[in-house]
Symmetry: C2
Subunit: 427 residues, 2 copies
């Protein structure tokens, strides 16, 4: 096997013929495969079933005597706030427990900023004309959808092995007051799987925004989602901020969607005490409180942070083999041909595959035609536009290992075809 | 006992002296009583404990095979939509299951309208300058808080025994395009307990709004909350609308907050198919879906609408004696003195007491001073301003019968004092 670019045109044509034959054979199998979304596999959801078997009497009263079945406790019950404060290296006063969707918390945070403003801001974002968000790319499509929905202009920021290009971030944030936020998935990033270095986190903390109402949306979705071999340490951004007095600049989000149940977990908004107080004042108009029975259910089930880490080892044991399949295929089929590269994630839900320029949408279309659904090419970019048409998000969690093997076999053939077509084009 | 207005000034002063003595004696008891919020009593929450004891395996798969533990099903699971469609006399396609707070659904509906617009509207509310909502009064303070937060101007509409003054509603809605909505609690209204007559419901359906984006916020919070003696029938507004082709004008809301758990129930948004489709397109940016395990939990527990009605009879058995205490005190202590009137509700959570002009805040303050917390005077009105300072919301659900008896005894004495002070003033 040789690097494609070192092949003669004739050899390329030969190889394309071979790849197309392999593709035809796979297509004829009439498979139905899906690597499109970062959904847990049912076996992962089974891990938390005991949480649904708690004694009803355990789900009534908090340690301070609040009846969780009734109204109240907008920020959540103490023991639950404490659990997540411990997990995030923060204090109870920094935590708001909110429903079961961190996406919903992010959306609501943007909405409040637009209509009502943020702590320390002079007026609502929505009263200030053009608004911009920085978007490290490739990134998470649902973040970008929020901006697009509200007409917030998105600016691509290259995301490297250690985080976003912080020189570029600094230039925008510190010189353009219409830049109001940045979307970050700082650990096991969606989709490339990288973790921001301490230096990058510190560079975030050190930002001196031109806007008085700029916020870092720190979506720590995969904070405990190592695959069990090695856990990359993400510097606590609030610790870094404390050195610069910039704690008010950060909204951190996480959830148990990929710890307990994706459809029925807990979501968390963590922020400075100033932000938390300000947000609760706004939030009390929206609701009297979120589901506190589910909060208590999670606390009784996990007991403490160690309980969460133990539980995550079981997830890791299910995820690791799947990532091994993906990386194994890429190592064998793609690396020797030099038609793509990728980060080898230690955790999270994705592999961000970067192929040759101009290949992503063709490869996704070829996969689709042969029965494999992938996240649409372009999805990890604002407005769905991948300027190089090169990135594909691989989501190995939902299929089982057999399906995944079939999917990756097909994926690699499609990548080869797409690469060869590009290399042979323009003759 | 005689009507106060028929007393001589001297007799009034005598009576005031007697009332003040009674007040002093009650105050000396140093009680701590609360009739301020419409919270269920723990005994009511106990009624649903079996819902928390369902087998975990029952909480996994819907009838069409969806794993409720995972992501997806933005509008909710079919059997749950069906349950609430049956309850509301609608179809599954009219139902969005959303979280556990109908207040949150109302807030979100206003937010979407402000930022993105509603079905059939030419632009977002927020892009149209001054906005107004009609507010039948007395009404629900949390509705009014939403408008106040977003700077939507509120206009008081008198609420009578059969519903709002529809001539006035029609005049505003049909001639002022800045009127975008109206807040209604059409059954066992908060706080007066009245139910809108069929004629009023039909008058709503017949409205021809000046605005192309006007919505009726039909908060059917107490739809199955009869006290068990007689259930007032509310005409299905969508049935009425069908005659006028005005189905798109209504957003209906309800929840199980006062059926199962106030902190962990289910909330419902019901609307025309046009509205539902349009809203789901907007809503998918906000979240991937709400808690479907809890949806399935409710379905398995109730099975069908009859299950809900049977369950509500148990609530009624707990509520009826409390309303009897309240109405008994008012009948004995207030009616003969002719210093207030009230509707005798067949259901719901409140008695709306209307005293003499200028007495409400004084009576509430007197109660407070003697240890009884009431909803602040003015709360049932936009901006917290009761133009006549006469209305007090009595919420008998949370205290037990003994507490309630103490609270009503005190309340009646305070009303007598406040009334006599007003009658004697200006001498």
């Amino acid at each position: 096997m040789r690097e494609y670019t070192s092949l003669s045109k004739d050899a390329m044509r030969e190889e394309l013929k071979a790849a197309r034959a392999e593709y035809a054979a796979l297509k004829a199998k009439d498979q139905k495969l899906d690597m499109s979304r970062g959904k847990p596999n049912p076996a992962q959801l089974d891990l938390s079933m005991d949480m649904l078997a708690l004694e009803p009497t355990e789900l009534v009263v908090t340690r301070k005597g609040t009846d969780v079945r009734n109204y109240g406790e907008l920020a959540g019950v103490d023991e639950c706030k404490e659990l997540f404060a411990d997990l995030l290296g923060l204090q109870m006063k920094n935590i708001i427990m909110g429903g079961q969707s961190s996406l919903n918390l992010m959306y609501d945070s943007v909405v409040r900023a637009l209509l009502l403003g943020v702590y320390g801001g002079s007026k609502p974002w929505g009263a200030q004309g053009e608004l911009k968000f920085l978007c490290p790319v490739p990134g998470y499509d649902r973040h970008f959808a929020i901006c697009e929905t509200f007409g917030i202009k998105m600016i691509n920021i290259p995301l490297g092995e250690y985080g976003p290009d912080m020189d570029l971030v600094r230039q925008y944030v510190e010189h353009d007051a219409s830049v109001k936020g940045i979307w970050c998935v700082p650990k096991y990033s969606n989709p490339t799987g990288i973790t921001y270095s301490d230096e990058v986190v510190r560079a975030f903390a050190a930002l001196k925004p031109a806007a008085d109402d700029f916020r870092i949306f720190w979506d720590n979705a995969y904070l405990v989602h190592s695959h069990g071999v090695r856990d990359e340490k993400l510097l606590n951004i609030f610790d870094a901020c404390r050195e610069y007095g910039s704690e008010d600049m950060v909204y951190e989000f996480c959830s148990t969607s990929k710890i307990t149940f994706s459809g029925a977990g807990l979501a968390v908004l963590a922020a400075s005490e100033n932000n938390v107080k300000f947000i609760l004042q706004q939030m009390k108009v929206q609701t009297i409180g979120y589901d506190k029975i589910n909060q208590l259910r999670h606390v009784k089930y996990f007991e403490n942070v160690e309980g969460i880490y133990r539980h995550m080892q079981e997830h890791a044991a299910l995820m690791r083999p799947k990532f091994n399949v993906v990386l194994g295929f890429l190592d064998r089929e793609i690396a020797p041909r030099a038609i793509g590269h990728w980060h080898r994630p230690c955790g999270g839900y994705f592999v961000g595959f970067e192929g040759l320029k101009g290949t992503a949408s063709r490869a996704v279309a070829l996969c689709k035609e042969a029965g494999l659904t992938l996240t649409p090419a372009g999805a990890p970019f604002p407005y769905g536009i991948d300027p190089d048409d090169s990135v594909i998000r691989i989501a190995p969690s939902f299929p089982d290992v057999a399906e995944l093997t079939g999917a990756m076999k097909l994926f690699c053939v499609c990548e080869r075809i797409a690469a060869l077509e590009v290399l042979l084009a323009g003759e």
